[in-house]
Amino acid sequence: MTESAVVSAAISDWVEAGKPAPTVEVVASVALEAMRRVGLRPADLDAVISTTSAMPFGHPTFLTTPAQHMGHRLAGKMGSNGLQVFNVSGACASAAAAFSIADSMIKSGKAKKVLVVGYDNSPRGFYFSFNSYLDTDMTIGYPLKVVGAVNPSYWAMWARRRAYEMGKPVEDIKELMAIIKEELSKNGALNPHARYKRVFTVKEVMESPIVDDPLHLYMISAVSSGAGAVLLADMDTARRLTDKPVKVAASAVGGPLHNEPSPRLTYFATAGGRRAGKPFYEWRKPIEDAYRQAGMGAEDLDFAEVHDTSAFHVINWIDQIMGWEREETDRLIRGREFGRGGKFPINASGGTTSFGEAVYAQALMEVYEIFTQLRGEAGERQIRKEIKVGMATAYGAYGSYGAIILERAW
């Protein structure tokens, strides 16, 4: 099987939704920047894989054609020799799915140079506030209409359940989440692309309003606008294009598990009682798949970029990446060993909490960061130890997941 590698990556600044306006030009500028860095032109590409929801402002009909066909529009915009175009959807894990398709195309020999682009322009507040989103399978929209359950409502239930299962008061997990926000915001303060470039102290986080108890406002990521582009190539081509190719050791995609007990975003019910599997195995499974693909385990990872739509997600990702006792995760967090100088740096980029979530582009921001960190090009926010292998994870509604392992190849 051919090896695949990331040869270049670029991201825009992450900004408040609507700034800049949602245009294909934003995507094109980031895509062309990634190509320019390794001397490629659109004519050199074999395929473009695009992912976007390009959320409109309260106008759901806009959701359909322009967003769904961003890949084709981009190819038309920057010029194309009739290259293969795919438009991919998987909620907040969309870009991880797009990346995995690109990786598979190269590993199978079906393409040699593939551009992955992700773009979003996410409005403030909660997405599912449109009656017109309601569909007959009663997932998205209905729990909001009937129960008043927004995304953080689910996360709050997970956080409270974890504390309960560990025999701890809910204040305990609240404190962990405040520490996470403070530490990640220190990284975000150093990242020129981040939207929130300032430190949020534990005290500030705990004093911010409670949104969904136990989640306070500053424990929840905002939504943003942003674009990312990542170029993949087979390893032979990669070595010609750059002296620092980053090998794609694994790219796994996960979907909903029928026996997952943890209340799943946008659903009314999950499995309970005898039917229930291990909580959060839905998150763990793509990570295990990635370990299998790479022939690696948690012990081989030096750092990770995880999808932190809330501070609870960071806790859960550490639980699932490590596969160890939850107390170990808590110790890592309290000891601040997930900072840039720690044993296992998490979100040296600042994470979703510092960027805000440009939903369909988010995993490309993570890949960009791992690529940049592995090449030693992260400047002030460079991780302060030798790093060879990093993992990116993605999580989204409907039960959508991704896990990517990238490795230095020089």
């Binding site: 507040g125 129960v147 409502s153 239930m157 007990p261």
Partner: protein, 145 residues
Amino acid sequence: MSQAQKKVVPIVEGLFTWPSDHPRLIGSRCPVCGSVQFPKSSVCNNPECDHSRPPEEILLSDEGTLYSFDVHMYDLREPFDYHKAPYAIGAVELPEGLIVIGRLTRTDGLKIGMRVRMKVDKLYEDGENIYLTYFFEPVDGGERR
């Protein structure tokens, strides 16, 4: 329009029996593999099932155990702004092997593991209708049996 003339309707049809003196959640059970779902579905969600016959409608137990809960602290935007904060949402484990989310009737004195019972009550009203939804109410004392 006077209060008496307003129609009393479920917020969404098909989630619970109505009208009824003893409303229950409407789910489905697969006659092949026994998997239970809520809301009811015409397709079994067990990937190991041979799907040879479609699920059948069943009424779910009206008592369960609180698996977890959230206290939501701010009002939602239109058109769902009738959910007035603060309100609590529970994930409730039912004997049929399901964890179902629903509004709880109160925001204080909640504990994971407590017994709760389903009831149908008013969610809100507009000029024409009174809208009902299902709630879970802590059973007296609320402690596990």
